[in-house]
């Protein structure tokens, strides 16, 4: 733990009384004095400020000067229609490996003369190495270290951010702009990872404390830690890399079919052409053996990561396991995600999860648990 890193907001978090924990190599706030439950509810009803500066920000510039060359290069690593991504629009995607597993999930934005990527903290070094090993001939790969990244999430986000940057009002879900905030150019997307409306804002390291302070000075905005970030994304049905998706889960198994647009599927204009394409596309045709599902525990006991799932109260062989689980403060009951064999994945199926040597019932449920609240 000698080389644990800090984001530019480290002192800001400590000054607010945050409980700091190591996460993906960074000392990060897991909760503030408000506590996980209230932070979660505040984000869903007002607005929450998250430090996500630990995540990787990467710019890809085409060496040829033609963005399409960078796009087509990136499409060799990511099974997403990036060529079809409009100017100043953003899209969710993932890097796949040769067996169709997921190396990381990320956000990709078309910024006209370059692509802007946001990748997970725990994977960023590997992602950058992966980009450098595979598409450095076509792209200049610039790792952004002089900028911090914050997320402002929740229904009051627009009214809060408008006070500092009027241009954000007209943005729709997944729009991206560059606009001045506090006299510095900010890269702003209308997106996030809570299932709520909101923004992710990349600003120079030197400006981020001032921006964070300006936002929490508003009555509607509270600082939110990683604890509530996790319960928010879980209720939102969103995958956490390393838990719900990893190198052993394929897009079809993970129920991320929606993220692979027609152009990259069998019969599309640029079908395949990414690592593991045969496996991924064959699973789209023939079905996957297991599926990521939502689970609603019958009682009040949370069903947590790693717990085995069974088809009956007595059957000895697990049909899958929980990959994320906890209490959902907004829905008011425990919520989980996990993988089950496809024959048991139908919505409404009762399965059994073994907790403390007792089999407890859970119902396969639709995701998300809380309806998405995006400004489309």
């Amino acid at each position: 733990m000698a080389d644990i890193k800090r984001t530019p907001l480290y002192d800001f978090h400590c000054g607010l009384g945050a409980k700091m924990v190591p996460f993906a190599g960074y000392d990060m706030p897991v909760q503030y004095p408000l506590g996980v439950m209230k932070e979660h509810i505040h984000t869903r009803t007002h607005a929450g400020l998250f430090d996500v500066s630990h995540m990787g920000q990467v710019i890809l510039r085409p060496k040829s000067g033609d963005l399409a060359d960078a796009v087509l290069a990136l499409e060799t690593l990511i099974p997403v229609d990036i060529l079809g991504l409009g100017l100043d629009r953003q899209r969710y995607g993932f890097f796949t490996n040769d067996t169709g597993g997921i190396l990381d999930d990320l956000m990709i934005a078309n910024r006209g003369d370059h692509l802007f990527l946001v990748v997970n903290a725990a994977c960023k070094d590997a992602d950058i190495a992966h980009l450098q090993a595979n598409i450095a001939d076509q792209c200049d790969i610039e790792v952004i270290t002089e900028r911090a990244l914050i997320a402002l999430q929740g229904p009051a986000s627009e009214d809060a951010l408008v006070t500092l940057c009027p241009a954000v009002k007209d943005m729709r879900f997944m729009d991206v702009i560059t606009a001045d905030i506090l006299g510095a150019p900010a890269w702003i997307s209308r997106s996030g990872y809570t299932g709520e409306d909101g923004y992710e804002i990349s600003v120079p390291n030197s400006k981020v404390v001032e921006l964070a302070n300006a936002l929490i000075a508003l009555d509607s905005v509270e600082p939110i830690g990683l604890g509530a970030r996790d319960s928010l994304r879980l209720e939102g049905g969103l995958c956490l890399y390393g838990h719900d998706i990893d190198t052993t889960t394929t897009p079809a198994q993970a129920n991320l079919r929606w993220a692979i647009q027609k152009a990259r599927r069998a019969g599309g204009e640029r079908a395949g052409g990414f690592p593991g394409a045969e496996v991924v596309l064959a699973e789209f045709e023939n079905g996957a053996a297991r599926k990521r599902v939502g689970l609603r525990p019958d009682g009040r006991a949370p069903m947590r990561e790693g717990t085995p799932i069974f088809s009956s109260e007595t059957d000895g062989t697990p049909i899958g396991s929980i990959t994320s689980g906890g209490f959902g403060p907004t829905v008011g009951h425990p919520v989980s995600m996990g993988y089950v064999s496809t024959e048991h994945s139908k919505i409404g199926t009762t399965v059994y999860v073994e907790i403390r040597n007792k089999r407890m019932a859970a119902i396969i449920s639709t995701l998300p648990f809380t309806p998405a609240n995006f400004k489309r």
Binding site: G35, V36, M37, F327, P334
Partner: protein, 119 residues
Amino acid sequence: MKFTEEHEWLVVEDDHVIVGITEHAAEALGDLVFVELPEVGITVAKGDEIVVIESVKAASDITAPLDGEIIAVNDALVENPELVNQDAMGQAWFFKLKLADPGSMDELMDEDAYKELIG
């Protein structure tokens, strides 16, 4: 009031003791979301894991502080686990224990000793 190293408090009431967890413990656990209580009438030995609690972070156990018999449990906690975060030393008691040996209370810490433990 007496205390254990497991961050439980005990208060004598008539011929039994009331047991809960300290405010310090509740704060360290974070928001509680689940409580499973023992059955009334069972006999427990010191150290037995008799209550399961889960916070937003993780599951943990509360152990029997001394030998005895469970004579009542606080069902209100099952419906409202958050009571523990709101009033750990008062309303949010977990169970009442009829001690096998009332003298065994003397083994436990007093308030000063507990305060020293948690620094």
